[in-house]
């Protein structure tokens, strides 16, 4: 890949993100297939068949981070979507509605014109996998019905008990095989199993590079600040089965390793506290939340969220791939959640944790109240909870966040003093 030669990781991130969106727009204009996919649906099947992928959740996060969420959300609410609906869904359903209006009238609606997020084309296929939430099922069905395009669901049962039962694996493999059959029908082509192996190999190399880069947050002091982790996550979502992800994360890992070897850290020597963040970022307040923690010398080094895309399997083994796509944190029982968070705290040497009670994500947030208590009992690490939302800016109060994390820092300080 000569086009990224000499670029640093942030430049590669920017380059590839833009390219992925542009490639999808170009593909759409040439009449090639574009798929809108949920963020942790297996991308390997579409990638194998040359279908261009857009990830509405990631796109909504980008709209939110660029402070364009409210206009989209208001558009969705005017269409009748309740403010209790996931804000990613509201942004995406609004965006879809505006794209349809543009396609019908030939004129770009003002809200769409002014949207600071990247432009995306309308889809020809919708794919979802309910391994991260069940809102997706109706949200994506809504897209498919409104747009009259095929809808592929990869149904992944919730993991109520550990380990994952064999019948669950069998069921998910059946789901994969049925999805392949549907894609064959939609494309009119036979599924290319040889290319599928190559795509799986690429996905595994991307995941390995991602793990390597994110693992460097464990170094004390950390060369990585966790908010960069949130930013780089865009490529593990959108380009997991592409070289773009591997290329960027390997460069990031090299940069972080170099910093760590020199004893440099993300806060230029100012890392006093290390904390974990549970839940999705508050994208419209990414800068505020980062600065608020930085003012307290708190580096966010641990999160369960980026680990969701750390999906490992043996290439060619659909059964292992099924396990990879169903065992992620958000699809598993309380017991596993507690184990995962406790491991994050231990491996990153975090002495505090902030739980985001996300109004948009009931699945992740409702369990957090109980999870937090058990994790605290097990690890002794203090925690704080704050109200927020992944992209609806109305559901977050900066002052409330500041007070809560300052109090957490004061408790961590008190614990340090007592342990001396």
């Amino acid at each position: 890949m000569t086009e990224t030669q000499g670029m640093n990781s942030k430049q590669k991130l920017g380059y590839y993100q833009e390219k992925l969106y542009q490639d999808a727009l170009d593909a759409h204009s040439k009449g090639e297939l574009v798929c809108w996919s949920s963020s942790i649906a297996p991308s390997e099947f579409c990638e194998t068949m040359g279908i261009h992928m857009i990830y509405p959740e990631n796109h909504a996060a980008a709209v939110g981070a660029k402070h364009g969420a409210l206009e989209m959300i208001e558009h969705a609410e005017r269409k009748g979507y309740s403010l209790d609906t996931c804000s990613y869904a509201r942004i995406n359903l609004a965006y879809m509605d505006l794209l349809v209006e543009e396609a019908k009238t030939g004129e770009t609606p003002e809200v769409l014109e002014n949207c600071p997020g990247p432009r995306i084309p309308l889809p020809d296929i919708i794919i979802t996998c309910n391994n991260i939430c069940n809102t997706l099922l109706k949200w994506y069905e809504n897209l498919a019905v409104k747009l009259n395009v095929p809808y592929i669901i990869i149904d992944v049962p919730y993991v109520h008990t550990w380990p994952i039962p064999e019948y669950t694996k069998t069921y998910i493999v059946d789901q994969f095989e049925y999805a392949i059959k549907q894609i064959e029908e939609i494309t009119g082509k036979t599924f290319d199993y040889e290319k599928f192996v190559k795509v799986q190999e690429q996905a595994q190399r991307s995941v390995a590079a991602w793990d390597k880069a994110m693992g460097l947050a464990q170094v004390v002091p950390s060369p990585l600040n966790g908010f960069d982790m949130f930013n780089f996550m865009a490529l593990i979502v959108c380009a997991r089965a592409k070289f773009a992800a591997e290329d960027t994360f390997n460069t990031l890992a090299d940069e972080l390793k170099e910093k760590a070897d020199k004893g440099e850290d993300a806060f230029k020597g100012g890392e006093k506290f290390r904390i974990a963040w549970e839940g999705i970022a508050c994208w419209p307040y990414l800068s505020h939340t980062y600065k608020s923690l930085k003012s307290l010398d708190c580096n966010m080094v641990g999160s369960t969220y980026p680990g969701a895309w750390s999906i490992h399997y043996t290439v060619g083994d659909l059964r292992e791939m099924a396990v990879g796509y169903c065992k992620m944190y958000s699809n598993t029982c309380l017991e596993n959640k507690v184990n995962v968070i406790s491991d994050v705290l231990t491996s990153t040497s975090s002495t505090g944790i902030a739980y985001h009670l996300n109004r948009s994500c009931k699945l992740m947030s409702f369990l957090n109240v109980e999870t937090a208590e058990i994790v605290k009992d097990r690890t002794g690490v203090p925690y704080v909870s704050f109200d927020g939302d992944q992209t609806d800016p109305r559901n977050f109060s900066p002052a409330q966040f500041d007070t809560r994390v300052q109090a957490l820092a004061e408790i961590m300080e008190q614990n340090i003093a007592q342990n001396k």
Binding site: P382, D387, F396, T403
Partner: protein
């Protein structure tokens, strides 16, 4: 040595001047909070009363919602730590603190040394806070400091079940239109505030003694309702509205000793 704590809340400003980390020389409360003349007036009143000047203060610590807006502070400390410190200073047996201020309610768990080991605060919502009571007092056409007295005359507690302040206001209006006495409604309003605060307190593990601070602790009706709900006595810190400022002054004393 004199130190000052200033607690700039959403609804009021409080200043405490402390001598040698022990004696309260002045404690002032002005019922105007951040963004108003309240902080400056509270500061001036406290200095006037103590016959001291700002240069006599070895250290100043600010707390509360407006803590970062007060430029003369040497340090800002969160209201959680300050209320805990202030109340523990006044009620050393306190292990659970319920603090209800203008726009937030918190429950704090302390260890035997007064360290904060856990705390919970209200959601991004005014239910169960001082603002909730302000709204209800306005609807009921009584002064906020009359609520406790009305409550004491109540023969029954009517249900005010809505969590949302706006919906609860409608519920109160509905009770009024049905001829329910203000006494009974106010007892219901207090029970509603107590229910929210106790929900937070239960999550801390609820160790005795339970102490209350914050402006709402001046309302004996709310204190009674919380005591009923928790089935135990509630120790109200003397002059509860100043506990945050007192904690800040104590932290300022720590800072002074360090320097």
């Amino acid at each position: 040595m004199y130190t000052m704590g200033i607690d700039i809340g959403s609804a009021s400003s409080k200043v405490v001047i402390l001598k040698d980390g022990a004696d309260i020389v002045a404690a002032e409360v002005i019922q105007f909070g951040t963004g108003s003349t309240g902080p400056q007036r509270a500061l001036e009143e406290a200095l006037k009363k103590s016959k001291l000047s700002l240069t006599d203060m070895t250290k100043i610590v600010a707390t509360g919602y407006g803590r970062f807006a007060f430029e003369r502070a040497d340090k800002q400390v969160s209201e959680i730590s300050c209320h805990a410190r202030g109340i523990f200073h006044l009620v050393p047996t306190a292990r659970t603190i319920i603090d209800i201020g203008g726009q937030d309610a918190k429950a704090i768990r302390l260890d035997e040394r007064g360290n904060v080991i856990q705390f919970f605060m209200n959601d991004k919502c005014a239910a169960g806070t001082g603002r909730f009571l302000d709204v209800m007092a306005r609807v009921l056409e009584i002064k906020i400091d009359e609520m406790a007295e009305y409550d004491s005359r109540a023969t029954e507690v009517v249900s005010v079940s809505s969590t949302c302040t706006v919906f609860a206001e409608s519920e109160v209006i509905s009770h009024l239109s049905q001829g329910v006495s203000k006494e009974k409604i106010i007892a219901g309003v207090h029970a509603s505030v107590a229910s929210k605060a106790c929900g937070l307190a239960y999550r801390t593990g609820l160790e005795n003694d339970v102490a209350m601070g914050g402006g709402v602790a001046q309302n004996a009706g709310v204190v009674r309702a919380i005591s009923r709900e928790l089935k135990r006595p509630i120790h109200v810190a003397p002059n509860p509205q100043i506990t945050g400022a007192l904690g800040a002054a104590l932290f300022a004393y720590d800072e002074a000793l360090k320097s």
